[in-house]
Symmetry: C3
Subunit: 204 residues, 3 copies
């Protein structure tokens, strides 16, 4: 079985973008933005992480050849704007977001590995792809960046991308490395949702 990375990304990017866009739209509504602000924040959340990754790696920005991903982000922002109380109350959204996180993180790591970069950067770009959009969303909305403070969220991306990197550089078939990393990131994030896990903080 071979894994065609480009094909997988073409399929999953729009889905991940839509789910992430919902969270961007909800933050916009909470911050009293208008519908334009909701769409802007939705797009930033959906594609921000992957955009910074591609710029740093000096690759063409992924969504420039993929308008569908941006349309899905716009749709997520509009839906969040008009149906925010419904979307906000939906527990399944958190699980869809966990899927998005896992997919984006490993996809970002795999793209970086395919360019021949150091394992350290494979992991960093995985985390950046999975979480950068959420950090940008909070920065633009003038909120404290929640994912740097709470929950096992970025950590799930880190562990998943780390596992992918270990398997990839061990010569494990790409499809196994990809699937294992994604599964671990998703399970860890899911467990954090169920059990309320978080990382320790320092006492300032």
């Amino acid at each position: 079985m071979t894994l065609d990375l480009d094909l997988i990304l073409t399929l999953v990017n729009p889905v991940g973008a839509f789910v992430f866009a919902l969270s961007g739209g909800i933050v916009a509504v909470r911050n009293k933005m208008d519908i334009f602000g909701a769409v802007v924040l939705a797009i930033i959340t959906a594609v921000g992480g992957g955009t910074i990754r591609d710029i740093i790696l000096n690759q063409p920005v992924f969504w420039l050849s993929d308008p569908l991903t941006i349309w899905c982000a716009i749709a997520g922002g509009v839906i969040a704007f008009f149906l925010h109380s419904l979307v906000d109350a939906l527990k399944p959204i958190r699980w869809a977001d966990a899927v998005g996180l896992a997919i984006f993180a490993i996809a970002g790591a795999a793209k970086t590995a395919s360019l021949g970069h150091d394992p350290l950067f494979v992991v960093i770009m995985g985390v950046l792809t999975g979480t950068g959009g959420g950090v940008l969303r909070d920065v633009v909305a003038n909120r404290d960046p929640l994912l740097l403070k709470e929950d096992i969220y970025a950590t799930a991306a880190l562990v998943g991308a780390g596992l992918y990197a270990v398997l990839h550089f061990s010569g494990v078939p790409e499809s196994w490395a990809f699937a294992s990393g994604m599964l671990v990131a998703f399970v860890l994030r899911g467990a954090a949702l169920i059990f309320g896990w978080h990382l320790p903080k320092s006492q300032p």
Copy 2:
């Protein structure tokens, strides 16, 4: 009549940069920044949108070959710092800013169209070029991003860039598309200034 996009941009970029820089400098003074902060915020406001556009489109950043635009931004920041109460009180500044918005938005859309991108991205890059500097200014100054919340501002850029895109892809001569988009963006922004129009918000 032919429209030389490069020539037009060379002429209008410094003017737009100066006007936008004034608003950056005023925000800096309100936030108790020193003169260095005023100049930094002026430059970010003036060229931030176009810089992000060029980086995403993988084009040379426009002001690297055009020091005059940066000098105009610095001048705007210095003037705003020393004459902020005068500048702040000037109603005509709002109208100059509306001209800057219209020019930058359509110029950004036209540059993107000239590179052969999808109409969706032509519109997005137009809005980004017109408004990205203002969002960056508010993010760096740690303010809520006003243009995502209030007034018909980004919307004017959106409608103008949208009209430009429709005309451009319909085969209308470039100069007509450019002028029509700019005029509509300016008139819409001007009407919002006069009548206090704004977009509806969702009830969070």
Copy 3:
């Protein structure tokens, strides 16, 4: 005596990154971030300025070929997280930070000059390299950007990079220009630390 810019940067980048990372980690602890947030903020502070510089100049991002710099940034973040009260109390850190500021600012200016850019951009990129990471740190941590408000900090980078530019474009040997710029930036920052100098503010 010849100055090999690449060699110098390879030697000093990790040191500067480590020192800057400490300040990022301390801000993270103060903002109640977890250890992941501390490492993220440490990396952003350490390499943010140089990363934006390289992206704007369309150069390969410097740390992609230099994992040691990122490891030093991670180490700085982890140390600041676990030993923050110790690190925070250390006066010598401020002096190490002044050395980092001076090195990064002149290194950024020299890299820009070596690419043949206008003197204005040599100075701007010097300031950006020296101070951009600190501004990004404050933006992500949702703080007011202190260096746009207080002390002779960015100004030290500006004067040092300006002196470097004057000497470089006057044909002074590169090693003299580099050393003079660095020394002046460091002395000015040091004097500001000792005497509490700051720039005047406008009365809003």
